[in-house]
C-alpha cells in the first residue's frame, strides 16, 4: 500500500514555544491512522501543522507525493486534504446548508457543489432535516456530523480529524466513530484521527502512533497497541 501522507522530522510550535520535535510517521492510503497521547502531547499542534495552520520550523510534509511543507491552509482542501478542527468549529450564524456550501469553497470543488451536496445529505440524513437551521443551534453530535460533512464537501482524499468525539455522550461518540469507519472502509478515504477515547479509536484504526511530549514515542498497528497492556499503562493512562 503506498503512502498518502509522509511526515519527516517535523518540528513546530507557537512563537518561542516548541511543541513538536522531529516527528516522523507515514499514513498508508485508505487506512485509518490514530494519533494518541496524553493532554498537551502535541496532537492538535501536529494536525494543525500538517493542515497548514502552523508553519513548521523544520521537517517535511508530503501529501500524495507532493511537498506541502508550509503550504497555506486555504490551498490544501483544493489538493484533497481536509481538516475537521477540534469541536467542529462550525460557523454558528450560518445555516447547515451554508456551512456545507463553504466546505466546497476550493475552486476545483465548486463545479461539483450540487452533486456533492446531495451525496453528503444522503450520507448524513439528519443534516438534510436541519439544513435551514443555524449551525449554532445544533446538538453536539449533529454539530460534529456537520463538521465532518463540511470537510467532505471538497471530496478530500485525506481527512484529518481532531478529537471528533470531544464533548459528546458515549453513544454519540460511538456513532461518530462508526461514520469515520464507514468513510474509510466504504469510500476508501484515508483518515488521520486524534482522539482522547483511546480504546474506541484503536478499535477502528489500522495503525497508531503515540505522541509523548511532542515526539513519536511508539508506532505500530492498532491491534498491537490494544494487545500490549504495558504500552497502554505507560503512555495512555489506561
Amino acid at each position: 500500500m503506498s503512502d498518502q501522507l509522509v511526515v519527516e522530522d517535523l518540528s513546530a510550535g507557537y512563537n518561542d514555544m516548541p511543541v513538536l520535535h522531529d516527528v516522523a510517521f507515514r499514513v498508508p492510503k485508505g487506512a485509518v491512522t490514530a494519533i494518541v497521547g496524553a493532554n498537551g502531547a502535541g496532537k492538535t499542534t501536529l494536525l494543525a501543522t500538517v493542515a497548514g495552520l502552523i508553519k513548521p520550523s523544520r521537517g517535511r510534509v508530503t501529501f500524495d507525493g507532493r511537498d506541502i511543507t508550509g503550504a497555506r491552509a486555504d490551498a490544501l482542501p483544493g489538493l484533497g486534504l481536509a481538516l475537521v478542527p477540534e469541536g467542529g468549529r462550525l460557523f454558528p450564524f450560518m445555516t447547515v446548508q451554508e456551512n456545507l456550501q463553504l466546505g466546497a469553497y476550493a475552486p476545483n470543488a465548486r463545479p461539483h457543489l450540487a452533486a456533492r451536496m446531495r451525496e453528503v445529505m444522503d450520507a448524513f440524513p439528519i443534516l438534510l432535516e436541519r439544513r435551514d437551521q443555524h449551525a449554532g443551534k445544533l446538538s453536539g453530535g449533529e454539530r460534529q456530523m456537520c463538521a465532518i460533512a463540511r470537510a467532505l464537501m471538497c471530496r478530500p482524499a485525506l481527512l484529518l480529524l481532531d478529537e471528533p468525539s470531544v464533548g459528546l455522550s458515549p453513544l454519540m461518540a460511538e456513532r461518530v466513530l462508526e461514520i469515520v469507519t464507514r468513510l474509510a472502509r466504504e469510500e476508501g478515504l484515508t483518515v488521520v484521527i486524534v482522539e482522547q477515547r483511546v480504546t474506541e479509536v484503536l478499535e477502528i484504526a489500522d495503525e497508531a502512533h503515540i505522541l509523548d511530549h511532542g515526539r513519536i514515542a511508539r508506532s505500530g498497528t492498532a491491534a498491537q497497541f490494544l494487545a500490549d497492556r504495558s504500552i497502554q499503562e505507560t503512555y495512555m493512562g489506561l
Binding site: D74, Y105, P111, L113, C154
Partner: protein, 343 residues
C-alpha cells in the same frame, strides 16, 4: 468552468439566500424613507436631519461590510471618509471636475488606500486591530495637516456656492435629502449583494473562526482585503457627498475619530452589527435623537447628547446584544417559539 458558471453552481444548490431574496425588502425600506422625505418636503429643519441620517445610515452600512460581516472592528474609517472629501475638493476646485465624476476616483483611491493600510494591520486580531486603526487615523491626520496643498491644512477647504445639479450643490434641503437617500440605496444594495455572495459568506466565516475558514479553503487575508476595499470605497463616496453638502471642512473634522470613525461603528452596533438593515435602523434612531438633544439641551447642558448616546449604548450592550434588528427578530420569533414549546 468559468467564474460565472461557478457562481451559478453556488446558487443552484438551493436553500441559500441570494440577493433576489433581499431586494424586495431593500426597495421597500427605501420607498418608505422616500415617502418620509416627501411628507417632510416643506420642513427644512427636518430635511436637514434626514439628510444627515441617510448619510450616516449609508456610512454605517459601508462600515458594516468589513466591521460587521467581516468582524474587523475598524475605528479608522474616517480616513476613507476624508480621502473621499479631499479627492473631490481637489478635483472640483483644481480641475473643475464634476463631483458626480469625482465619485469614482474618490471610491477607487479610498479602496486602494484601504487595501494598502489594512494589509499589515490585518495580521492583528480583536482589540489590537481596533487600536491600530485608531493609530492609523492619527497618523493620517498629521500627514494631512502637513500636506496642506491638498487638504488646506488647519484652515481646511471651502467649496464655493455654485448651485446646480452638475456641481452637486443645491439651494433646497430636499435635494440633499434625496441625494443622501440615493447614497443609502447604493450602500444597502451593495451590502445586500455582498452579504448574499460567496464573498459575504467568506467574510462571515472569517469573522466566526479564521482557522476554520482557512481549513475550508478560504484565503483569509484576501477575503478581508476585498471586504475592506468595498467598505472603504463606499465610505469615500460618503466623504464626497458630505463635503459637497457642508462645503467647508478641515482635516480634524473629516478625520474625527469620534464624530466619524467611532460613530459609524456605534450606529451599526446599536442597529444590529452584521445585518443588512441594522445600521439603517441605528441611524434612524441615533441621528434624529442626537440632533434633537443638541437643539433642546445643547445650550443649557453642553454634552448632554453624548451622555444620552452613551446611555443608549449601555442599554444596547445589556439588553440588545444583536442590536435593534436582533431584538426585533427575537420579538418576531417569540410566538413561534412558544407554539413549538407547547407542542
Amino acid at each position: 468552468m468559468s467564474n460565472r458558471e461557478q457562481r451559478l453552481a453556488w446558487r443552484k444548490t438551493g436553500g441559500v439566500k441570494t440577493l433576489r431574496h433581499e431586494l424586495p425588502v431593500t426597495f421597500g425600506a427605501l420607498a418608505a424613507l422616500g415617502a418620509l422625505v416627501a411628507a417632510m418636503s416643506g420642513d427644512s429643519f427636518t430635511l436637514n436631519i434626514l439628510a444627515s441620517t441617510f448619510l450616516f445610515a449609508g456610512l454605517a452600512t459601508a462600515w458594516n461590510v468589513i466591521g460587521g460581516l467581516g468582524g474587523q472592528f475598524s475605528l479608522g474609517h474616517s480616513v476613507f471618509f476624508a480621502i473621499g472629501a479631499f479627492t473631490v475638493s481637489n478635483l472640483y476646485l483644481g480641475l473643475q471636475v464634476s463631483p458626480w465624476l469625482a465619485l469614482l476616483p474618490a471610491a477607487l483611491l479610498s479602496a486602494v488606500l484601504g487595501v494598502l493600510i489594512s494589509w499589515p494591520v490585518f495580521r492583528l486580531r480583536g482589540p489590537f486591530f481596533a487600536i491600530a486603526t485608531m493609530a492609523m487615523t492619527e497618523v493620517l491626520l498629521s500627514l494631512s495637516l502637513y500636506f496642506d496643498r491638498f487638504t488646506g491644512g488647519s484652515r481646511g477647504v471651502s467649496i464655493p456656492f455654485r448651485a446646480g445639479l452638475q456641481n452637486m450643490i443645491f439651494r433646497d434641503r430636499l435635494s440633499y435629502a434625496l441625494l443622501m437617500l440615493g447614497f443609502l440605496a447604493v450602500c444597502l444594495v451593495v451590502m445586500a449583494a455582498v452579504t448574499r455572495s460567496r464573498l459575504g459568506y467568506s467574510l462571515q466565516a472569517v469573522r466566526d473562526n479564521e482557522d476554520a475558514a482557512a481549513a475550508a479553503g478560504i484565503d483569509v487575508l484576501r477575503t478581508k482585503l476585498a471586504g475592506m476595499a468595498i467598505s472603504a470605497a463606499l465610505t469615500g463616496m460618503g466623504g464626497v457627498l458630505y463635503i459637497m453638502y457642508v462645503r467647508v471642512a478641515d482635516p480634524p473634522t473629516l478625520f474625527s475619530l469620534f464624530d466619524i470613525g467611532v460613530k459609524m461603528a456605534l450606529i451599526a452596533l446599536i442597529g444590529g452589527i452584521g445585518t443588512i438593515y441594522g445600521p439603517m435602523l441605528g441611524a434612524l434612531l441615533i441621528i434624529p435623537l442626537e440632533s434633537w438633544l443638541r437643539a433642546e439641551l445643547g445650550g443649557s447642558i453642553p454634552g448632554a447628547n453624548l451622555i444620552v448616546l452613551g446611555f443608549i449604548l449601555m442599554l444596547t450592550a445589556l439588553f440588545l446584544r444583536r442590536g435593534i434588528v436582533g431584538g426585533l427578530k427575537r420579538l418576531w420569533s417569540r410566538p413561534g417559539a412558544a407554539k413549538g414549546a407547547g407542542r
